[in-house]
């Protein structure tokens, strides 16, 4: 068996529908089984997994695992994820009723994206890519409005330099406050700033260990 993992869940009953449940200590991984010879990058599979992922979030909040992680059985899952179980259990218990929302904002000063062919080595290219990402800044007044109107509705928030042309605000929000966040987001349309508020998403940003 080969299965591409979707996420980590607190209870077996949190996994339903087309996903299979693979025990991971007292947690469970949701996964979609791959057909023989089927690559994990299969286009139809990607879309299928995306839909299953959304349905799983309707049942209960889970920790999202970045796409591409494939396991073969329960012992394989434990050998690769066992070190995370205690931390994941704590997160799932604490945030069962919380989801993430993402506000993606076009940069007022987008940075030119470095071209790989113009660099002699990969390290220099990655450094230039990082500098371009960190250099992208959004409109100051818009950011102030976001900090005043959206951030107070969230339990946690994190500003992220996502790429050379945008910044992103990740919000950890109680499910019952999603409508409030959406309303606050709609009010931001008075600004002449392109943005996209999306979600709800499973625990993505807030499940990651903070980089020091």
């Amino acid at each position: 068996m080969r299965a591409v993992v979707i996420g980590a869940h607190r209870h077996r009953d949190d996994i339903s529908g087309d996903a299979i449940a693979i025990p991971l200590g007292d947690l469970f991984l949701s996964a979609v089984e791959l057909a023989p010879q089927q690559p994990a990058g299969d286009r139809e599979l990607l879309i299928r997994v995306a839909k299953i992922r959304a349905r799983l979030l309707d049942v209960a909040t889970f920790i999202a695992v970045r796409y591409g992680f494939v396991i073969t059985n329960e012992s394989d899952a434990m050998s690769k994820c066992g070190a995370h179980v205690d931390r994941w259990r704590a997160l799932l218990d604490e945030h069962r009723n919380d989801v993430e929302l993402t506000l993606k904002i076009a940069a007022a000063t987008p940075q030119p994206r470095p071209k790989r062919t113009e660099f002699a080595n990969g390290a220099d290219y990655l450094r230039a890519l990082h500098a371009a990402t960190q250099g992208a800044a959004i409109d100051g007044a818009f950011r102030e409005a976001v900090d005043a109107r959206l951030v107070p509705l969230a339990k946690q928030h994190r500003w992220i330099h996502r790429d050379n042309a945008s910044m992103e605000l990740a919000l950890l929000v109680a499910r019952e406050r999603i409508d409030e966040v959406n309303a606050a987001g709609t009010a931001l349309k008075s600004f002449d700033v392109p943005f996209l508020l999306s979600g709800p998403w499973p625990l993505e940003v807030f499940a990651q260990e903070v980089e020091q």
Binding site: V5, G7, P39, A40, G41, R43, L46, I47, V49, A50, R53, A54, I63, A64, V65, R66, Y67, G68, F69, V70, K80, C81, H84, T102, K104, I105, A106, R162, D163, A165, S166, K189, F191, D192, V193, P194, F195, L196, S198, W201, P202, E204, V205, A207, Q208
Partner: protein, 59 residues
Amino acid sequence: MADSDEELSLLETLDHLLDRGVVISGEAVISIGDVDLLYLGLNVVLANVDAIIRTARKT
């Protein structure tokens, strides 16, 4: 507008699938041919449709 909304929703969903979530050490980078899907995930369309239209009119 409905079609563009659906397309945007799919793009955003795929971006989250490919470029978000915890990374398990040892995972492989997914590629199709010469195209790195994780790299693709960085190129998301930004769309407050109203603001984009206003911006387009100015230029």
